[in-house]
Homo-oligomer: 186 residues x 2
């Protein structure tokens, strides 16, 4: 409906990240974010419910990136999860890396945002476990596999956004999986 | 200071659980909980910040039960975590089982409470990973071990509070660990 606002959400997100990086999450108002993006507060609230949503928008797309491949991945629970997060890694393209890096820096500086991020990942693990159970996987095995998949993703993601890191998220996840197997084999 | 209020917190918790079980978490007010316990609202707020805290009080003691043994447990990261959660299981004595069972039923019925519970467990895993890092464990290994320890605890705890279950939490955790090892060995 608002064709002339094309890309407004992205402009607001980038403006917010710039300001959060300078003054911290609490040091920035919605009005300032809108002004920085050259837009109005009204436009801001057409796209985001509140300031925090600027950082947490797209939860559904994020979850779908993991759940859709999990629905059809073959093999036992752990193998299916490994395959699903390998497919999901494609969601994190190289051109997203700077955004992800800046976003994480803002989150790491603020305990309330860290909690929200932890919860997001916990909910992803729950949803992955439910997907596996729907496929007939034993509930205990489903939870163990899903939690490990999310932990491997977290570890690899943390490395992926390190300064100077150039490997793909998929490669880093495979490395983390190798580590997990080695730890539990010993 | 309030000697005549001895056990007030516990009375309020049991009264709350009774009422939540009958009418759901949202169907009960603080005033009703206090009345059910034969106490005043003022007394309630001397013990709990809000209604939700009735279910989530004691987070520090809960975390300490896992973190203290982890500080001194010997062996590699995974072994140390297994030992720590084995010691922590003693925190969940048999006489706590009915409370834990009733509390979980209330939480399972309300998504907001489920989120809070997930967050509590995520924060425990973070704290366990930090404890391992302080001991010089590599950060990736610390996170993998801590997350797996908490997942094993969750699985075993869910079974521990099932109707008719009589095995100890420690035994159930050992069973869940065995399963995890088998899954990742294959």
């Amino acid at each position: 409906m608002a064709r002339w606002e094309g890309g407004a959400a992205e402009r607001l997100q980038l403006a917010a990240l710039r300001l959060f990086g300078e003054r911290g999450f609490d040091g920035v108002t919605v009005a300032e974010i809108a002004a920085e993006a050259g837009l109005t507060e009204r436009t801001f609230f057409r796209h985001f419910g509140d300031k925090r949503e600027v950082l947490f928008r797209g939860q559904e797309a994020f979850e779908r990136a993991f759940l859709e491949p999990l629905e059809t991945a073959e093999g036992d629970a752990m193998t299916a999860v490994a395959r699903a997060i390998d497919v999901a890694a494609a969601y994190f393209t190289d051109d997203r890396r700077p955004w992800s890096r800046g976003r994480q820096a803002v989150i790491d500086a603020e305990p309330r945002l860290q909690e929200r991020e932890l919860l997001k990942l916990s909910l992803l693990a729950e949803a992955m476990a439910a997907t596996l159970r729907d496929r007939g996987v034993d509930p205990a095995e489903a939870l163990l596999a899903a939690e490990n998949g999310v932990t491997v993703f977290r570890l690899a993601f943390a490395r992926w956004i390190e300064e100077g890191e150039t490997r793909s998220l998929a490669d880093l996840q495979q490395e983390a999986f190798g580590r997990l197997h080695a730890m539990l084999r010993s």
